[in-house]
Symmetry: C2
Subunit: 223 residues, 2 copies
């Protein structure tokens, strides 16, 4: 049996659905490669256009600007992560075990899905770690938020918060703890790799270390 994973990204994020055409899919796929390679600040539509042998004009027909393209990529990631969380905890009865699974998912490489969505998962993971906060840490955040473009992030937050509340209905900060897990998984991984003195990573790998730290933090907070 073969099945498709299809995450419908909010229409407000794009001008023309990139999933709907060969070139659209190439834009997103190559954008992931190029943002990973150059960093978001040095990434431009012109460079992307050269990379995939098309023109800036074509890319602008799909996305208003590079911020929206990054938002598209992150929406896809957040939706995928929510799916992985739901898929990962199905059949698990113990809420503690569910939360352990969540932390593992947040701190380890994305699985190579068998589907046709052949984004480079390692690059995507790096982008989430290094660039994701740039989509909301902008002056226009509230204006942007009106289009519900952060819904996938909020949904993921809610999903994890629900498991936290299931484990401890008395805990007062399930949503904040949920976003703290997500954001902390990013910056602890980033610091572990690039500014290790800001962490206690030692000789361990960034992902394992971050996983241990987060589990400790999480369970102490709610148990």
């Amino acid at each position: 049996m073969d099945f498709h994973l299809n995450f419908q990204v909010n229409q407000k994020v794009y001008l023309r659905d990139p999933e709907g055409s060969e070139i659209g899919r190439k834009i997103v796929k190559s954008a992931i490669d190029l943002i990973h390679q150059l960093g978001f600040e040095h990434f431009t539509f012109r460079k992307l256009a050269v990379e995939i042998s098309t023109t800036e004009a074509t890319i602008y027909r799909y996305f208003e600007n590079k911020h929206r393209l990054l938002l598209y990529i992150l929406n896809w990631y957040w939706s995928y992560m929510e799916f992985l969380v739901m898929y990962g905890i199905v059949n698990i009865k113990d809420s503690r075990e569910k939360l352990e699974t969540v932390v593992e998912l947040l701190t380890h490489e994305l699985p190579e899905s068998s589907g046709q969505m052949d984004y480079n998962k390692r690059f995507l993971n790096q982008i989430v770690i290094s660039e994701s906060s740039k989509v909301y840490l902008v002056k226009e955040v509230e204006e942007i938020n009106k289009d519900a473009v952060f819904k996938p992030y909020k949904d993921l937050c809610t999903r994890i918060a629900d498991i936290i509340s299931e484990h401890n209905p008395q805990y007062l900060y399930p949503r904040s703890l949920s976003t703290t897990l997500i954001e902390t998984s990013h910056h602890q991984q980033f610091f572990s790799s690039h500014l290790p003195k800001l962490t206690d990573v030692g000789e361990r790998g960034a992902k394992d270390f971050t996983g241990s730290f987060l589990k400790n933090l999480l369970f102490k907070a709610i148990e």
Copy 2:
């Protein structure tokens, strides 16, 4: 008695010391106002030059680019915060009380220092919340780090980590918990103000809420 608070920012951050001239001080002061007003992405040296009636060339003689100027502002903030932490816990014996003081400092407005450094503290606080991660979340982070320009952040991290270890010498992640407190104080305040559904803020103010959440998180983690 009157005394000067003077934080010597690492020389690698600037080309010419802005503290050493009238126009240099005006550059930093107005940069804080303008970055707060426009957001870092929309902030440019040209706009700053117009604002203080000078030329781009003059500003470029002080700072290589706007990233370095932001780094200067944050170095000043981190040094000031380290001072406030040291000053705030002096004479306190109880390590728990010390940590409570730290969280208060991290989540509340900076005091208007009596000194001559008349940066707008409210704006500075907002900049730290919204823009600080942009100085390290860049592709060139390791190259930049070689100039020790993150030392004030690391010093602040160490200072808080030391108090954590004082309170609980067995705790395994004092530095990571320290950076998590700092970073979480930023994004929980940001989310509380702009994307409140990602938090449990309710009717409370962003700062009080974040303070409560962080204290709960911190003491559960180490006690």
